[in-house]
Symmetry: C2
C-alpha cells in the first residue's frame, strides 16, 4: 500500500509512531498497535500503528518526529507500507512474562528493538513489569547489561585504570561525588564520572556540578577533559551510553519500580570503560535500602554482576538516616562541596567521601588507608576540582560566596526545647522541591541542626531558600504540615513509627495462555 | 496555571490526554505522564500529560478527543490546569505488582480510574501484566467482576429467567450460538445474547449474525427485541456493559495474554442480568485449553466465580481438535447455521448445540434430556430464528441460497490417497483471514473433508472463497505453504508433533522497592 506522508512534530519518546486511517489499517489486515514496515528512498523502518477515523484521511499517513527525521520527510512523499510480521522480541517478552529465564541472544533482540523504537508502550511496560514480578537472575542481569552496552556508544581510555562511583541514592544533600572525584583523580586514577539529573529528588549530581561548570558535554569533549584532568563530572543523559536504559526509565518512573537497577547502573559503567567501581549503598528508615542485610544482598549482586562483566566492584554500606551535610538544593550543595574541598566541610560528608575513596584505593591496589583524607587536607583535591571546572568551561577562581543562593528565605524554628530525634528525608525532599529545587538552582534547604543536636525553643531548625515568594510560602506551609524534624526530650519517647496491617499474598486461579 | 485550549482529533482509546509545552509542564513541577486536573465552565477532569518542545507553544494546551468532547471545546478557551495528586489506584496497582491480594474497594478504585480514563498506557499495562504474573484468586476475580459491572450500564428483565451462553473460543467455524439461542428461546427461557467481533479469528458471532440482521442495537432496542422474541443475537461492544473490559482488551491484545478471562466474561453476563450461564470449553491441541484437566480446573473457577456473583454456571467441555462444521467465514457460516436450523446441518454442530442446550435446560430445572434436539427437528427453532432476524431488522424469509458467498474461489486438492489425519486450526484461521474474512463477509473456507475422512489423490480437501483475486491468490499460496490438512495412511504414522526445548524458571535477584 502506498500512502502520502504528513509529518507532525509529535515527540513520543523512543517509539516510531505512524497514524493511519482506520480503513487503511483494516485493509492491511492490521489493528491499532500492530506494526508496519515503511519503505522510502531505499530506507526501511518499522513503526507502530495508531489508527484514527478523523485525524487523518484514507490514503494519508502521519509520521511522528522519529519517523520524520529518519526519512527526512517534508510532507507529500509516497511511503510504501507493508504489514510487519510479529517481532521475535515480543515472543521473548511473553516468555519472561511466563517466568522463563532469558539468555543473552533473547535480551539482545529485545534491547535492539527497544533502541530501534519498534516496541509500543504496552510492550515496553509488560517487559519492565515482567522483570519486576518474575525477577532477574544474575546471569540474566549480565546478559541484559551486555545487550544494553552493545546497543549504544562506548568510551575507551587505552592504558588507563578507569574508576567510577555510583550511589544508589535516596539521601537528600548527597554531594559526595563532587568531593570524591577530585580526590580520586589526584591519586592518579582516571574517573570519567557521568551522572543523572534529579527525577524525584531536589538535586542530582548533574545539577550540583552545573552550578560550577557546564555538564552538557559530548563524548569527544569528555575524552578531552579526562585526558587533561584525569576526571570529569558530566551529565550522562545524552551520551548514548546504554541508551535502552533511558527508554526503560520512562516506564519505571510512573510505576515507581526499578527492576533494572543492577543492569541500569552496571551497563553505564561498562560503556564508559570502568575497571573499578565503588558503589555507595546508604541504608536508613527512609532510604531505598532499609537494612544491613538487604544492603549485603544487593552488594553481593553488584559484585557478582561486576565479575561477569569484567569490572571490579566494591560496595560501601553507609548511614542514610538523615540528609548528608547541611545543604539541599543545587547552589547550596555546590557551595557546601566547594567549602568541603577547602577543608571547611561537614564531618559526615568528609567521612563518607574519604572512606569510599579509601575502599576504591584499596581495590586498585594502593593499600594506604587514610590517603584520601590526606589528599583532601593537602588542598590538592580543591586544585584538581578547579582544573575540572576550568576544563568544563566554568570559572576556576570561583569562591563559595560567589555562588548565588535563593534571595527569598525563611527560618523554621523549634517550638520546644529538646533534641533532634530524627529527620524525615521524604519531607525534606518535598519541601525543597516545593521551594523550586532543582529547576530553580538557588532554591533548597539549609539544615541548622542535625540528629542528636540540642535545640532551644525559638532556635532555627532549618532555613528554606527560594527564588520567589509564592513558592517560598508553599514550602513554609508544607514544612509546617510535614514537620520534617522531630524534636523531643529522649530518643526513647516516640516509639511508634507507623501502623502496619497484614496483606495476604495471592493464590492464583487458572491462567489461560493465548 | 491558565492555558489556552487547542482541540485536535486525536483518538487514543480510553485515555484523557493533553499535550503541553515542556516548560509549562516543568513549571507545574510535573513530568511527562504525570496527571493534571483541568477545570473549565465548572466542570473538572483529570488528564494525563504528554510534553513536547515543538508541537505546542508555551501557554497552549492540546486536548485529545476525549478531553475535547468532555468540555465541548472549540479552541481558544482558557482552561485552568492544576497538578493532580498521585492517584490512589496507582498505589493499589503497585500492591498487585508486589504480589498483594486486592479487595473489592481497591479494585473498584482502579476500575473507576480506568473507565474515567485517568490511567496511562504504562499503568494499564502494568495492571494487566501484574494480574497475569501474580495471578488472581477467585475472591479477587469476583471483586474485579463486580467493580467492572458497577462502573457500567446494566440491563434488567424483571420476572424472567435469564440465560446466557459463552464459548471461550479458539475453534474456527464455531457457529453454535446461532443454533443454540433460538432453541433456548423456544423452550421458554430468555436469552439476550451479546457477542464480540473477531479480533484474531476469521469470524465472530457478531459477524455471523450480521449477515442475517443488524447487530448494532442500543440497549433500548435490545430490550424491545427480547420482549418480542425472548432472545437476541447482538454485538456487545458498544453497549457500555462492563466498559472497563474493552479498555483492558486493548492492552491484552498486543501482548497476547488474557489474565482477565474470568472477570471479563462473567462481568458481561452479570451486567446483562443472567441467572443461568452455560460455558463451552473446547479442548484440543490447538485450542486455547489443551487438556481435560485444565478444562476442569477452569470450569471449577467459572462455577465458583458464578456462585460469588449469584449466577448458576454450568460448563461443557467439548472437542476442539478441528473446525466445527464445514464453513469458516461470515457468509459461509451464516448459511451453514441456517441450514442446520432447517435440519440439514453437520452432525458435530447439531450435537454440540443441542448438548449444551440440554445442560442449560437441566440447570434451569427442565430435566428432559433430548428436548433440544426435538425442538431443532420440529422446525420451531428455525421459526424462532426468523422472528429474531425480523426483530433485528433482517429479512425473515431469507433462504440459505440467498446468502452471497465470495465470487472468486479455488479448490485445494489432495496430492495423495489417504485419510485426513488432522487439521491445523491455526493454519485454517490464517488462510481464511488472508482470503479476506471477517472484513469481506463472503470470504472464507469450506471444508470438503474432515478428520478421519478418506480422500483420493485429486479430491478437493477444501475450497477457499474470496471477493478478489489478489487475496484469493495470497490465500492459495499460504494454503500450499501451511498445508492445513495432513493426509496419511494411518493415524500412527506421524508421531512427532513438534520439538520442545526445556526452559528454566527464573531465580530472582535482590529487588529494590522505590
Amino acid at each position: 500500500m502506498k500512502l502520502i506522508a504528513r509529518p507532525i512534530d509529535l515527540e513520543v519518546g523512543g517509539k516510531n509512531i505512524v497514524i493511519m486511517n482506520k480503513e487503511d489499517v483494516e485493509s492491511l489486515g492490521l489493528h491499532a498497535l500492530d506494526r508496519v514496515r515503511l519503505r522510502y528512498n531505499e530506507k526501511e523502518l518499522t513503526a507502530i500503528v495508531d489508527e484514527t477515523a478523523k485525524f487523518t484521511i484514507k490514503g494519508e499517513i502521519i509520521a511522528n518526529d522519529d519517523v520524520t527525521n529518519f526519512f527526512k520527510l517534508k510532507g507529500g512523499e509516497h511511503l510504501e507500507v507493508f504489514p510487519e510480521k510479529e517481532l521475535e522480541s515480543i515472543v521473548f517478552i511473553k516468555q519472561k512474562l511466563a517466568g522463563v529465564r532469558l539468555d543473552y541472544s533473547k535480551f539482545k533482540k529485545i534491547v535492539e528493538d527497544v533502541v530501534n523504537k519498534k516496541l509500543s508502550t504496552i510492550e515496553l511496560s509488560a517487559f519492565v513489569t515482567a522483570l519486576y514480578t518474575r525477577g532477574i537472575s544474575i546471569d540474566e542481569a549480565a546478559s541484559l547489561s551486555k545487550a544494553m552496552v552493545e546497543t549504544g556508544r562506548k568510551i575507551k581510555f587505552p592504558g588507563k585504570i578507569i574508576c567510577d562511583k555510583h550511589s544508589i541514592g535516596g539521601i537528600p544533600g548527597d554531594k559526595t561525588s563532587l568531593v570524591l572525584v577530585p580526590i580520586v583523580a589526584v591519586a592518579g586514577l582516571t574517573i570519567p564520572k557521568s551522572s543523572s539529573k534529579a527525577i524525584t529528588s531536589p538535586c542530582g549530581t548533574a545539577e550540583r556540578m552545573e552550578v560550577l561548570a557546564s555538564v552538557n558535554l559530548s563524548l569527544e569533549e569528555i575524552v578531552e577533559v579526562v585526558e587533561k584532568t584525569n576526571a570529569c563530572l558530566v551529565w550522562g543523559g545524552a551520551l548514548d551510553l546504554a541508551p535502552a536504559d533511558d527508554i526503560f526509565i520512562q516506564i519505571e518512573y510512573p510505576l515507581g519500580i526499578d527492576p533494572l537497577l543492577l543492569p541500569s547502573i552496571m551497563s553505564k559503567k561498562k560503556a564508559i570503560g570502568a575497571n573499578y567501581v565503588i558503589i555507595d549503598i546508604p541504608i536508613g528508615r527512609e532510604a531505598k535500602i532499609k537494612t544491613v542485610e538487604d544492603a549485603h544482598e544487593l552488594a553481593d549482586d553488584f559484585i557478582e554482576l561486576g565479575r561477569k562483566l569484567g569490572i571490579h566492584v566494591a560496595c560501601g554500606i553507609t548511614l542514610g538516616e538523615q540528609p548528608l551535610g547541611h545543604a539541599i538544593g543545587p547552589a547550596l550543595e555546590a557551595r557546601e562541596a566547594l567549602l568541603t574541598l577547602q577543608g571547611k566541610g561537614p564531618k559526615d560528608l568528609v567521612e563518607k567521601a574519604t572512606v569510599l575513596c579509601d575502599i576504591l584505593f584499596n581495590e586498585t591496589g594502593q593499600k594506604n588507608h587514610g590517603v584520601a583524607l590526606e589528599i583532601l587536607k593537602s588542598g590538592k583535591a580543591e586544585k584538581k576540582m578547579r582544573e575540572i571546572i576550568e576544563a568544563q568551561g566554568g570559572n576556576p577562581e570561583i569562591k563559595p560566596d560567589d555562588i548565588v543562593i535563593g534571595s527569598k528565605f525563611a527560618d523554621i524554628k523549634s517550638e520546644i526545647d529538646g533534641k533532634v530525634l530524627w529527620i524525615k528525608n521524604s519531607a525534606i525532599v518535598s519541601i525543597a522541591r516545593t521551594a523550586g529545587a532543582p529547576k530553580d538552582r538557588g532554591a533548597g534547604i539549609y539544615l541548622k541542626a542535625k540528629v542528636g543536636d540540642s535545640v532551644r525553643k525559638g532556635d532555627t531548625l532549618f532555613t528554606i531558600y527560594s527564588d520567589n515568594y509564592m513558592r517560598l510560602n508553599d514550602a513554609i506551609y508544607l514544612a509546617e504540615e510535614l514537620k520534617p524534624m522531630v524534636i523531643g526530650k529522649h530518643f526513647e519517647e516516640k516509639m511508634l513509627l507507623e501502623k502496619v496491617f497484614s496483606e495476604v499474598p495471592a493464590r492464583k486461579t487458572f491462567m489461560l495462555e493465548r
